[in-house]
Symmetry: C2
Subunit: 337 residues, 2 copies
């Protein structure tokens, strides 16, 4: 940051901020995070910090009036690998007086999914970050000898849990074809090849930007769990687990990002983010906006994470254009803060 | 055994034998095992040893000519809790010269399943002990972020394995409605609520007295594994695991036990044993026969294991009657040995 002519500081949780000397609040905060997961790649989220820094340097070099209105940030521990549970830097900023000196937050990030690449699109404007609901499903049946117990006498909790795990895709498709979910964890008890499972556990996760879709999906999973349990003479218990509400990006920021993408002339789309981001945490206090660039093969959190330089540069250019528009008083209205 | 007037000895692996003094080979071996599982019940298989001992004592007390033709046995470590892998006592006898002094093996045991009780039957004549085949199924897909990866782009190994686990009951029912199987062990990798499983493992077990049913079931599980994998764009690998061939009881022993049950006058049935027994091991060298008494609630390997005294006594009486018939030279033909 100092090499780019910015004055840099770290706050108490090690978020690093930098801005051109001589500006005054409110600043448009632009950035992402530089931490990553264990055995991660080089782009999530360092690309967003580098793009912000590069945009800021370009504005400074050009003596552009937007330059002193921008603050670059590298958030601490977005991924949680440092033990803070994830998003700990951006959440700490929500409780820091500095948040009152900010007029909004803008972030560019790799998509971490295959949508943009598979559709041949080069930029994504994020409408919002999906809500997540986890359901901890437990099936209770009766453990029995797998050789001596006829099917008619069984209460096979494993088969009931397996039926539900298999059905998650179709259940969600029936509720909202744009939403996603997962059955990523399953276990049978006692877990022996020759014992009919007496108990089974399964974690079902559902995600959507639509709170209504999340609600309806949870109801449908409940009903399917009960039907699967009935099919195998078991009892289904469905307990709510993790709840993360959907977060919507600021409509004026979205509008600005859309006009930037339109003028850019390359294929782009509106989309929701299926993963969490610092922009999601900050949206609780600040108008926030987000851009995506494609991820090759949809791969992220891996050393194979890659986006072609051309697309990274184009993304940084779009970020720069958005900064210029947003720091125009007509778009970026400090009185809103 | 000595209190019952028998001469007792233990062999090198701690099988305990007892017989009336003065008899000569060949003997009809009658018994079961006195070891049990950890936290097991009092009947599997001690009931079979006690019934044999009681039958032998009754014959001795009556001065019956069958008495010196019987040897009572308590086999060592049938369950494997002592670390021998199960059936280690009866398998050791197969390699012991003493086996050549035996004309056959007769065993009474609790059913360990609910069939006799649920049908109101009081005795079971075992036709044979089912064969077991285990298939180790592995589904290979691709681990992906469960929020950013649309369903169309997924290769969900967990869903494929779950579909197969759910289908086992119907697959086997389609092959042979009398056979049973199990999916008792399953695991998803990496096993995280927010990661689409890239790998999954499942153990499928099938059991039948019919070798043909076992074969056809394994083929059907193979085909279903492949179809489930295709459904989720995964690859299925099915490796053979444990193989235990079906064992048939001796036809003449079966015939004798049937006539004993018929004369007994109470409801009985022919049946296969879904669990392994010493009689199954010994059938490799000796003509063998087995009787079952009901297990309350089908429960076994549990302190709740129970059979009413009336049924235990009736079973021991049937065993005695069978011993008398089998030691008649017309049925129990030493030249066969």
């Amino acid at each position: 940051m100092e090499a780019a002519g910015l004055v840099a500081r770290a706050d108490s949780v090690n978020n690093v901020f930098g801005r051109q000397p001589g500006g005054s609040a409110p600043w448009l905060l632009v950035g992402s995070h530089t931490d990553t997961v264990l055995a991660g790649g080089r782009l999530d989220g360092a690309f967003g910090v580098m793009a912000a820094l590069e945009a800021c340097r370009a504005l400074s070099d050009a003596g552009h009036p937007a330059a002193p209105k921008v603050e670059v940030v590298s958030f601490h521990d977005e991924e949680g690998a440092a033990g803070g549970g994830g998003l700990s830097g951006s959440r700490a900023l929500l409780r820091d007086p500095h948040v009152d000196e900010l007029g909004g937050y803008l972030e560019i990030h790799i998509e971490q999914g295959p949508v943009l690449e598979s559709e041949g699109r080069e930029l994504g404007v994020v409408e919002g970050i999906v809500g997540i609901r986890r359901l901890n499903v437990r099936m209770e049946g009766e453990a029995n000898h797998a050789g001596t117990t006829p099917y008619a006498a069984r209460r096979d909790a494993g088969a009931a849990a397996a039926k539900l795990a298999w059905q998650v895709r179709d259940i969600l498709h029936g509720v909202d074809p744009t939403m996603v979910g997962n059955a990523g964890v399953i276990g049978f008890e006692p877990g022996s090849p020759n014992v009919v499972p007496g108990g089974a556990t399964l974690v079902v996760e559902v995600r959507s930007l639509s709170e209504q879709s999340v609600e309806r999906a949870c109801e449908a999973v409940h009903a399917a769990a009960k039907a699967a349990a009935d099919d195998f003479r078991c009892r289904a218990m469905v307990e709510p687990g993790l709840v993360i509400e959907p977060v919507h990006m600021d409509p004026r920021f979205i509008e600005t990002l859309v006009s930037v993408c339109e003028r850019n002339g390359r294929p782009w789309r509106m989309m929701s983010s299926g993963a969490g981001h610092d922009a999601g945490a900050l949206a609780a206090r600040l108008p926030a906006g987000m851009l995506f660039v494609p991820s090759r093969g949809g791969i992220s959190h891996s050393p194979l994470e890659h986006t072609d330089d051309r697309l990274l540069v184009q993304g940084a250019q779009a970020l720069l254009n958005a900064i210029v528009e947003m720091t125009d008083p007509l778009v970026f209205d400090p009185t809103r803060n």
